[in-house]
């Protein structure tokens, strides 16, 4: 026997998501109209302001997916699994942004859309891995088994992240060295650095808003599944 679910909640605008998009729009405006282009790279250098923050958010998202999965293995709290699922999905979106914006910088600067360089290849592997993570989740109906397998895959996938960051030092790569996360300090003029950090803030804010929205969706879905199965 199944129990009837509650009536649909009243839908209100997601103000946090709208605010996050407004901040991203402000970062775009600053990058496009209020930040000078680079002397040698020209306007293509502005791709850095969406490429690097997207990479940061993807790494953050997958790192938190792994952390939530690890905690789930001990605590078995469904909220952790829902967070891991949400963070991984948003991470794949930002990882896709990295893989789209990177070649658009590579073509004018390197003369090639893609090179099988360690950093690029590992980033592509990371994308495939977390795409597989989402496919795996969709293929397992049992909630506990799904959370367990996903937690292990998330942990193994996130292990790639330090290698991706260090790949430019470990291997002879074509990818530029970090302009901020390095031992020499910030390698760009203040006007560019301000835009760079503002874009990092904007994309991180957007990550929080997207995960919150996706988490709410997962919570509603699970509640509906529970009521359909008569578990409530």
């Amino acid at each position: 026997m199944t129990s009837a679910p509650a009536a649909p909640p009243v839908r209100r605008p997601d103000w946090l998501l709208l605010a996050a998009f407004a901040v991203v729009a402000a970062a775009y405006v600053r990058a496009i109209w209020f930040t000078p282009p680079d002397l040698l790279q020209g306007y293509a250098q502005k791709i850095l302001y969406v490429h690097a923050p997207s990479a940061w958010v993807a790494f953050l998202a997958f790192g938190l997916t792994a952390a939530a999965g690890a905690f789930w293995l001990f605590l078995k709290d469904p909220r952790l699994d829902r967070f891991a699922e949400s963070s991984a999905e948003v991470g794949v979106v930002f990882n896709t942004a990295v893989l789209v914006s990177g070649p658009l910088w590579g073509k004018p600067i390197w003369g090639a859309w893609w090179v099988w360089d360690a950093r690029l290849t590992l980033t592509l592997f990371l994308w495939f891995l977390f795409l597989g993570y989402l496919v795996l989740r969709g293929a397992i109906a049992d909630r506990d088994a799904r959370a367990r397998y996903a937690a292990v895959l998330g942990l193994l996938g996130a292990a790639l992240i330090p290698f991706i960051h260090l790949s430019v030092y470990l291997f002879n790569t074509q990818h530029p060295l970090p302009v901020v996360a390095n031992t020499q300090g910030i390698q760009m003029p203040p006007v560019m650095a301000k835009t760079f950090f503002f874009a990092f803030f904007a994309f991180t804010f957007l990550y929080v808003a997207l995960v919150r929205s996706r988490y709410a969706l997962a919570t509603e879905r699970d509640a509906l599944d529970d009521s359909a199965n008569g578990d409530d």
């Binding site: 199944t2 009837a4 679910p5 509650a6 009536a7 649909p8 839908r11 998501l17 998009f21 991203v24 775009y28 990058a31 496009i32 000078p36 282009p37 680079d38 002397l39 040698l40 790279q41 020209g42 306007y43 293509a44 250098q45 502005k46 791709i47 850095l48 969406v50 490429h51 997207s54 948003v90 979106v93 896709t96 942004a97 789209v100 914006s101 658009l104 910088w105 073509k107 004018p108 530029p176 060295l177 970090p178 302009v179 020499q184 390698q187 760009m188 003029p189 006007v191 560019m192 957007l206 997207l210 929205s213 996706r214 969706l217 509603e220 879905r221 509906l224 009521s227 359909a228």
Partner: protein, 55 residues
């Protein structure tokens, strides 16, 4: 070689490659908005499922 980014130069000295960053900015924005659209559609699908269950 350190990847130092240099300050702006004159437009005459710079390569004409603005189209690449315009495409990159457009593609990233389209990707993010597209993802939000999937969230909206999935939410509507949940509402439909809930309504069907209450009937």
């Amino acid at each position: 070689m350190p990847s130092t980014i240099r300050p702006t130069g004159t437009t005459e000295q710079m390569p004409d490659n603005a189209i690449y960053y315009q495409w990159a900015y457009g593609a990233v924005l389209a990707l993010l908005l597209g993802y939000v659209l999937t969230l909206v559609l999935r939410r509507r699908a949940l509402d439909r499922r809930r309504r069907a269950a209450t009937r």
